[in-house]
């Protein structure tokens, strides 16, 4: 191994590292480019507000899918946020109990559950029991995905609160529960909210849990116990269809979905940047 070949290896390695980064960015660039180019021409007020029309008929839109996404994510949040934050608080405030260790480990492991499994779960729990696809089932499936993440982020946010603050409150004679709520929770609230919003951004794009829970619907939202259209499911259905105008609409839907998620993510990062 003489000096020349060692130098050559060093340069080759540097080139490999740069190439890897480029190779990862190219697909991303291609995706964003295609979404914008193909999706932009489809976006219109009609697209955002109207119901879908049969294939090859113009004038249809994803209005109900956008509405449905908000509703299902909303249901999931109502279920998942209180449960997740509550468990996260428990883990942060009582970290030494045996229950804590079991919950912590289980939550960690649950974050790795494949999304389709949460769909099966909600199907068995809700759809079979109540005899049909429903927004509620979709919400339960998404909540099952949300909870482990919110538990973790809440726990971490609360653990960041310096022990001195907690001790100061206790030293003033405040009971445990008041310290926890008034001091720790409120100090950590920003981190907790960030965690919740990031989790919402994550599940808003999920399709698999909704395929056989919320299912799909060509009409507006019609009650929590009925199937409902959602943006990811619409995109999927239209993408694998044989109709070209539906393919175009799928790109439009993709643009809307990506835009919503990106805005949410960037908003969170900016807000977080300013606060810390």
């Amino acid at each position: 191994m003489n000096m020349l070949s060692r130098k050559a290896m060093d340069r080759l390695f540097t080139f490999f590292c740069i190439a890897s980064t480029a190779l990862a960015i190219i697909p991303l660039g291609s995706m964003l480019y295609t979404i914008f180019v193909k999706g932009f021409s489809v976006i219109s007020i009609d697209f955002l507000t109207k119901l879908p029309t049969p294939a090859r008929e113009a004038g249809g839109g994803f209005g109900n899918a956008i509405q449905g996404s908000f509703i299902v994510v909303g249901i999931a949040s109502i279920i998942g946020i209180p449960l997740g934050i509550g468990a996260g608080m428990y883990l942060a405030e009582f970290p030494n109990s045996r229950l804590s260790r079991i919950v912590s480990f289980t939550a960690d492991v649950l974050t790795g559950v494949p999304s389709i499994i949460t769909g099966i779960f909600a199907y068995l729990l809700i759809v079979l029991r109540f005899g049909g696809f429903s927004a509620l089932a979709g919400g339960v499936a998404l909540a099952t995905m949300m909870i482990p993440f919110i538990v973790r982020t809440t726990e971490e946010a609360m653990k960041l609160v310096p022990a001195e603050l907690r001790e100061a409150s206790l030293a003033l004679g405040a009971p445990r529960w008041k310290t926890s709520l008034a001091v720790v929770l409120s100090t950590a609230r920003f981190g907790i909210i960030t965690g919740v919003l990031l989790t919402i951004a994550r599940i808003a794009g999920e399709t698999a849990p909704l395929l056989f829970t919320a299912f799909n619907n060509r009409f507006w939202f019609d009650g929590v116990m009925n199937p409902v259209a959602t943006l990811p499911v619409m995109i999927y259905t239209y993408a694998i269809s044989p109709f070209e105008d539906w393919h175009a609409q799928a790109w439009g839907g993709a643009l809307v979905l990506v835009a919503m998620i990106l805005v949410l993510n960037i908003g969170i990062k900016l807000a977080a940047g300013r606060r810390w």
Binding site: R6, C17, S20, P27, I35, V103, P175, Y236
Partner: protein
């Protein structure tokens, strides 16, 4: 980070009363049990209960049978297990070296201004929903594979059964590529943290001996961080195994086992997504749920291994410093 929380649990010992504090602890404890433990238990119970008709009919043979015939009622999970394993392995094969290259580039090589721009960009990849990556896969990647990637592979490596033609755009190879793209963000970001955690004293020690940067990274930095990197790879593997939409949109959804990567395939997650709503009878549905159970078990095992290794590695780190 050590947490200095009063470590007494109010519920320890036998003398406790219903004070606001104990109620608080009980309330939160119950919430945790419901949200996590009950959830996990329910999940497991429903999966087992739902797959029971198939479990009892096919037994262990289910895992090794290649039959998939809803008409005659014969079901076997092997093609899907095979497809999941092959596509995930392919994803790791392509994704891990690239992720490490990116991690090294962003920590050791890139100037700070470039790093500040490129690292959020790589993270951006993680925020794109699976169905949209699948959409791109159908209309951009699959044609690319069919027209530009598969022909040279067939021509030069076609003697290997792995690359036998004819070439389809919707194939195991395309699925592997898509999965690789999806796991790169997580593997590279965890690896980056692992590399940043290597003390500069170690790097300087190697460079002071006259080693090149390449030699230092390969022989000193990466081995030092290998525990965390292995954990990162396991996390990526877990993700790849469970990925549904992007895979089902590009893999061709063919329940046959082909040796060629250029041919279509099927994964556990994909078959559930595709056929769940078509399952007309109880055994069919139960077979699909049983596949879900197998998928659940495999990804839980991978996840647990990842956490145990990372936990062990962190303990080692603490011991060193």
């Amino acid at each position: 980070m050590k947490l200095r929380v009063p470590s007494f649990s109010i519920l320890n010992g036998k003398n406790w009363k219903f004070t606001p504090d104990t109620l608080f602890q009980i309330f939160l404890g119950v919430l945790s049990i419901i949200s996590v433990i009950v959830l996990a238990a329910l999940l497991l119970r429903e999966l087992i209960k739902g797959s029971w008709p198939a479990l009892s009919t096919f037994g262990l043979e289910f895992l090794f049978s290649t039959a998939w015939n809803p008409v005659t009622g014969e079901f076997g999970a092997l093609p899907f297990i095979y497809g999941t394993i092959v596509s995930s392995m392919l994803a790791l094969l392509i994704g891990v070296p690239l992720s490490l290259g990116i991690a090294v580039y962003l920590t050791e090589i890139a100037p700070s201004r470039v790093r500040a721009i490129l690292s959020p960009v790589v993270e951006l990849l993680a925020a794109i929903p699976s169905v949209i990556i699948g959409l791109w896969g159908i209309f951009v990647l699959a044609p690319f594979v069919r027209e530009h990637l598969a022909p040279p592979l067939m021509n030069y490596l076609g003697f290997l059964p792995l690359f036998k033609g004819p070439a389809y755009g919707y194939s195991v190879l395309t699925a592997g590529l898509v999965l690789a793209i999806m796991i790169i963000p997580i593997i590279s970001s965890v690896s980056r943290e692992a590399i940043l955690a290597v003390p500069s004293l170690q790097k300087e020690g190697s460079l002071a001996l006259g080693a090149t940067r390449f030699e230092t990274i390969i022989s000193v930095v990466l081995p030092y961080a290998k525990g965390a990197i292995f954990g990162a790879v396991m996390l990526g593997l877990g993700r790849a195994i469970g990925e549904t939409m992007a895979v089902t949109m590009v893999i061709g959804n063919n329940p046959q086992i082909f040796t060629s990567l250029l041919h279509p395939g099927y994964t556990m997650a994909a078959v559930i997504a595709n056929e769940f709503t078509e399952a007309t009878d109880d055994v069919y549905l139960a077979a699909l749920i049983e596949i879900g159970l197998v998928l659940f078990a495999i990804s839980m095992v991978v996840n647990i291994i990842a956490r145990v290794i990372t936990w062990k590695y962190l303990k080692l780190e603490e011991g060193l410093s």
